[in-house]
Amino acid sequence: MKVLVCISSVPDTTAKINFTGDGKEFDKNGVQFVINPHDEFSLTRAVQLQETQGAKITVITVGDASVEPVMRKALAIGADDAIRVNADARDHFFVATQIAKVAKEGGYDLILTGKESIDYNGGAVPGLVAGLLDYGFINGCVGLTVNGTSVEAVREIDGGKETLSGEFPLVIAGQKGLVEETELRIPNMRGIMAARTKPLNVVEAEQTESKLKVVGYVKPPSRGNVTLIDKDNVAELVRLLHEEAKVI
């Protein structure tokens, strides 16, 4: 089976989030970029399918050359080859269009993504890819078994779980639970060496029209200093929550 794993290069969780002076863009200065945490679960699941069922894995990212280190990390974790679509990951419809094109041309059976990227919190690309390709779509996937061309998946729903069955080709957006946190693969020395020579092909993007414009960014108002309450006076906390915060 051919698996296409979509990964985003995102600021590390601990990065300080600042915006450029005019508030138009995220300030990348000094920021460490990593594979989007939700994508890591999908990537590891793909590597497991490679090991148990001989799946071939391609990773795809939409971005300029600065995303290549993150892509090499995915190759080091076990992907066979990579495709970078050379463009700014401007908006979700644009990104989904690029992925859908590569997925269709490459005849991929399974398109795995993370359910949302931690920077722009769109959560839109997986569904848009599925819709553009008219493939089945499983969102919030916390379990995946493949039998030939059939898939059994588990989706997290409010207060429970749903088991689903589907046929290739499918788009699946994964999250924590797709594999256990402890199973997440990290690159080892051998993987890093091999990644250097695995193919990373750069392709040009297809143009799309967008009616979605980003006006700007601001940081949310800061919370201010904490009001500390003495441990021998918890009644004071109850009073403050009622009278000051007005939340009880």
Binding site: A124, L128, G131, G166, Y217, V247
Partner: protein, 318 residues
């Protein structure tokens, strides 16, 4: 024109998220002069609860093919019933799954995770969540149809009672429209408050020292009518169920009140709770990073403080 709203339901009852979506649609309608039409799929609940938040019309769809959720089938239903320029869905698991498919079916611009009423409706200009709550992105839809999802517990419920009407709507949807079939649904007891909808959440972490000590946390939750949550480490070692994990790779929540007991406040945890209106931190370590992100804090032994706090909360609740 009508703004269409997906009034999400569970077991025939409207979810709080449905009321939030109607409230949001009404905030647009108030500026644009549109009406609000809610779509209810296999709902037994009274439409009165939707009129309360501003729905002028409720379209009731009853169809066996929609008994189980299917992103494609549900998107098809909404696309068929849609007649205007705007569709609003809650950003729940289901809503967020339907939205992209629906946007493509209706040739609409998709905007997700909106957190506040639009400042302008022509062009549509509004704020959405970004950088896991560490940023706010203002977007503009320059024209044409749009599909919008509203983040839970962000915009909130706004009562705007109207005298609405109900209509039965039939749609041409069949089992064949579900590309992926549901084979089993496992639901935990539904008396537990949905973590993403809860107004108050009581959460605990490694400071509890063991799963057997959670009684006082659950008691606090009972007294306050709250949901319970936990940090990642205690979910990973199975002290608490995965569904309670809030954080970067767990759930992101935004309750009115978040009480964190024995949680140090790692950045990954904050990413899941930083949009809470009020944060209370109880921790024995005065250097715990969480205090820097809290509104109120108590430094001390949770095993002494929480029982006393429960006592005071019980007295307060009367």
């Amino acid at each position: 024109m009508a703004i269409l709203v997906y009034a999400e339901s569970h077991d025939g009852q409207y979810k709080k998220a449905a009321f939030e979506a109607v409230s949001y649609a009404k905030s647009i309608a108030d500026k644009s002069g549109d009406t609000v039409t809610a779509v209810a799929i296999n709902v037994t609940d009274s439409s009165d609860s939707l009129y309360k938040y501003g729905a002028n019309k409720v379209l009731k769809v009853s169809n066996d093919a929609l008994k189980n959720f299917s992103p494609n089938a549900y998107a098809k239903v909404l696309a068929e019933l849609h007649d205007g320029e705007t569709i609003v869905l809650p950003s729940t698991n289901d809503g967020a799954t339907i939205a992209p498919l629906l946007a493509l079916k209706t040739n609409a611009t998709l905007v997700t995770n909106l957190i506040a009423a639009p400042s302008n409706v022509s062009p549509f200009t509004a704020d959405r969540k970004a950088f896991s709550g560490k940023g706010i992105e203002t977007i503009e839809v320059t024209g044409g149809p749009k599909v919008l999802t509203v983040l839970q517990n962000a915009f909130g419920l706004k009562e705007n009672p109207v005298s609405g009407t109900e209509e039965t709507a039939s749609v041409s949807v069949s089992d064949a429209d579900a590309k992926v079939k549901v084979t089993k649904v496992e639901q935990k007891s539904s008396d537990k408050i949905d973590l993403k909808e809860a107004e108050i959440v009581v959460s605990a972490g490694r400071g509890m020292k063991g799963p057997e000590n959670w009684g006082m946390i659950e008691e606090m939750a009972n007294i306050l009518g709250a949901a319970t949550a936990c940090s990642k480490p205690v979910a990973d070692i199975h002290w608490r169920p995965h569904e309670e994990h809030v954080g970067q790779t767990g759930k992101a929540i935004a309750p009115k009140l978040y009480i964190a007991v024995g949680i140090s406040g790692a950045i990954q945890h904050l990413a899941g709770v930083n949009s809470s209106k009020t944060i209370v931190v109880i921790n024995s370590d005065p250097e715990a990073p969480f205090f820097k992100s809290a509104d109120y804090g108590i430094v001390g032994d949770a095993f002494e403080i929480v029982p006393k706090l429960n006592e005071e909360l019980r007295k307060f609740k009367g």
